[in-house]
């Protein structure tokens, strides 16, 4: 079997495993089946990336030739995102066992089945080359995600899940409207075919409306600033493992879909001209960076603080996109990858605290630096990455972002990036201060260090943060290849 024939199985294996999982009783077997499926999926994704970077892979389902049948079309950009999603799931799953046992004690078969459905949905979005198929996979992953969030032990998880359902469905339906307009104008749903046929009809208001609908719809799923309202509650009240998984993957995939449509389907020399997309994205990106960081500085709950920080980090990615250059887009992809690394590590550390203490409020973390040194050191080190200290992954992506801004002579963006990084220092510092420089009150119970099953995966991610801060061959190479694949090999705005 060649890699082209194997590549769809990174979606199919989790999908089929989820069926098995749904029927398995107990606590061990659902997890074990999930782990095997996720690792198989991640290995396939890892082999796909180098192959896809050389030549675009295409797999026709049912052997129907592409414009008619559904096609998986994988170039460097999809393969990069797919590897990120599958890889994050594979790293998070060993961590999940203990945390899920504690937070979701019952019916774990259904829980892991939902997780696998969400994963295969996200992977399906990235690999598919068919616009309608993307919509279907988007809904598969979204519906599974609503179910996962509702598993949170706090009753507000239900509210958060419902509100996310409303906003997420509106977003997905907007995407469907956009796809419908494109189909009406061109008569095709295949992304590559769409890109070929659109230039003839693209000077119509229908196509312009399609672009607007797709951007707003994906902006909702992406949590771009004014459309981010679902994110903080969903991340705060979901079970820790769900937050860990979502923070690293869900918004990234939505960003990928947006980029795929804006850059591949509508060529960037059209989509950035017909709408003032560059300006709008830049303003929203910068506003997201500021508002997210600003609100994060005042949150009493660490999970919610990190959720707002995610809104800010999405702002960096959107800013990178708005520069419409290979280096700007590479910076966006780099930050997509690096943010997944650091936010997953941070949420894992917080999840470990929740496992031991039962809460993620800032006042419950007081004095934990002495009793849980390994957990909170991991948090602090991953925090360095989110601030963007040199030798961490966060530094690399911010460095590229700054270079992209300087490349276009927009030095004020550099100032803004530095200021928001300083705000990140403040909100990370608040946790460190509480953990090491405040006394634990007598009323609060003493806790010891967390079990190794939680610590080891967390530290692996922290180590990865530093590894990718020093050895940037994989990340920068992959991100540049992805950016070039989207821009069609170098173009000027």
């Amino acid at each position: 079997m060649t890699i082209t024939e194997l590549m769809p199985f990174s979606v199919l294996v989790p999908l089929i495993a989820s069926l098995v999982c749904a029927l398995l009783p107990g606590r061990f077997w659902p997890w074990a089946v999930t782990l095997v499926a996720v690792i198989v999926s991640a290995v396939i994704a890892a082999f796909t990336l180098p192959a896809a970077a050389q030549v675009t892979l295409s797999y026709a389902f049912g052997n129907w030739p592409p414009p008619i049948g559904i096609e998986y079309r994988v170039d460097a950009a999809n393969a990069f995102v797919a590897l990120l999603v599958a890889g994050m799931a594979a790293v998070a799953l060993p961590w999940a066992k203990k945390s899920v046992d504690k937070e979701v004690p019952e019916r774990q078969g259904a829980f892991y089945a939902l997780f696998l459905l969400a994963l295969s949905g996200l992977l399906g979005i990235t690999l598919s080359g068919d616009a309608f198929n993307i919509f279907v996979f988007l809904e598969i992953s979204s519906l599974a995600t609503y179910g996962l969030i509702a598993h949170g032990s706090d009753r507000r998880a239900l509210l958060a899940s419902f509100r996310y359902l409303i906003m997420g469905t509106v977003g997905a339906t907007f995407l469907l409207i956009g796809i419908g307009f494109l189909y009406i104008m061109t008569g095709t749903l295949n992304l590559a075919d769409l890109a070929e046929r659109l230039p003839e009809v693209r000077d119509t208001s229908t196509v312009r409306a399609a672009l607007a609908f797709i951007i707003v719809g994906m902006g909702l799923k992406l949590a771009m600033l004014p459309l981010h309202l679902w994110l903080p509650n969903a991340y705060t009240y979901a079970p820790s493992f769900v937050t860990v998984f979502l923070a690293g993957t869900a918004t990234k995939v939505a960003l990928y879909v947006m980029l795929r449509f804006v850059f591949t389907v509508f060529a960037p020399d059209w989509s950035f001209v017909v709408l003032p997309l560059s300006t709008v994205l830049m303003i929203l990106g910068v506003a997201g960076m500021f508002a997210g960081s600003w609100v994060a500085m005042f949150q009493p709950n660490i999970k919610r603080m990190l959720a707002y920080s995610s809104v800010a980090q999405v702002g960096y990615m959107v800013l990178g996109v708005s520069l419409v250059s290979v280096i700007g887009l590479s910076a966006a992809f780099l930050h997509l990858f690096n943010h997944a690394l650091m936010k997953t590590a941070l949420f894992m550390a917080v999840g470990t605290v929740i496992y031991q203490v039962g809460s993620a409020r800032l006042k419950d973390v007081r004095g934990l630096g002495r009793t849980m040194p390994w957990t909170l050191t991991a948090f602090a080190l991953a925090g360095l990455s989110i601030i963007g200290v040199p030798l961490t992954a966060g530094f690399v992506s911010k460095w590229y972002l700054i270079q992209a801004a300087l490349d276009q002579g927009q030095w004020f963006l550099v100032v803004l990036i530095l200021v928001t990084s300083l705000m990140a220092v403040i909100y990370i510092w608040r946790v460190i201060e509480a953990a090491w420089f405040q006394e634990r009150s007598i009323k609060q119970p003493d806790v010891g260090e967390a079990p190794l099953a939680l610590l080891i995966p967390t530290w692996i991610l922290v180590a990865l943060n530093f590894y990718f801060g020093i050895d940037t061959r994989l990340t920068v190479g992959g991100a540049t290849a992805a950016a070039e694949a989207l821009l069609g090999g170098g173009m000027t705005p």
């Binding site: 919509f135 519906l143 009753r155 507000r156 409207i177 419908g180 809460s359 409020r361």
Partner: protein
């Protein structure tokens, strides 16, 4: 006048879409929000189905004496989208039932974030 009437499907789509969207935004009751969402999605279904109609075209079943067929693809797509819509409705209502059990109300305005007192 004729141009307006000849696009009657699309006018219906727009009106339904706005009613549904308004319902989603303005109504506090979660059951009504789900209904609005359904209406919103249904309008998009009509948009797709309208696009599949070919004037003078027959039902897309192969048989003798018929030359022109309507486009069957939008129907197939919308069949899938309807299933997605049903699943969304089921999940939404299930959540509403659980919220009703947990809070005793499904009026969104009455359910704040602060009432559990851990300072969010």
């Amino acid at each position: 006048m004729m141009t307006i009437l000849s696009f009657i499907n699309y006018w219906v789509v727009v009106v339904l879409m706005m009613i549904g969207f308004y319902c989603v935004i303005a109504r506090g009751n979660m059951a009504k929000k789900v209904m609005g969402l359904n209406l919103f999605q249904t309008s998009v279904f009509i948009l797709f189905i309208s696009a599949g109609k070919i004037v003078g075209g027959s039902t897309p079943i192969l048989r003798e004496g018929v030359e022109m067929y309507s486009n069957p693809l939008p129907h197939v797509l919308i069949l899938t989208a309807i299933v997605v819509g049903v699943a969304t409705t089921a999940v939404g209502l299930a959540l509403a039932v659980r919220i009703n059990e947990a809070y005793g109300s499904i009026e969104d305005d009455h359910l704040g974030d602060e009432d559990d007192g851990d300072g969010q």
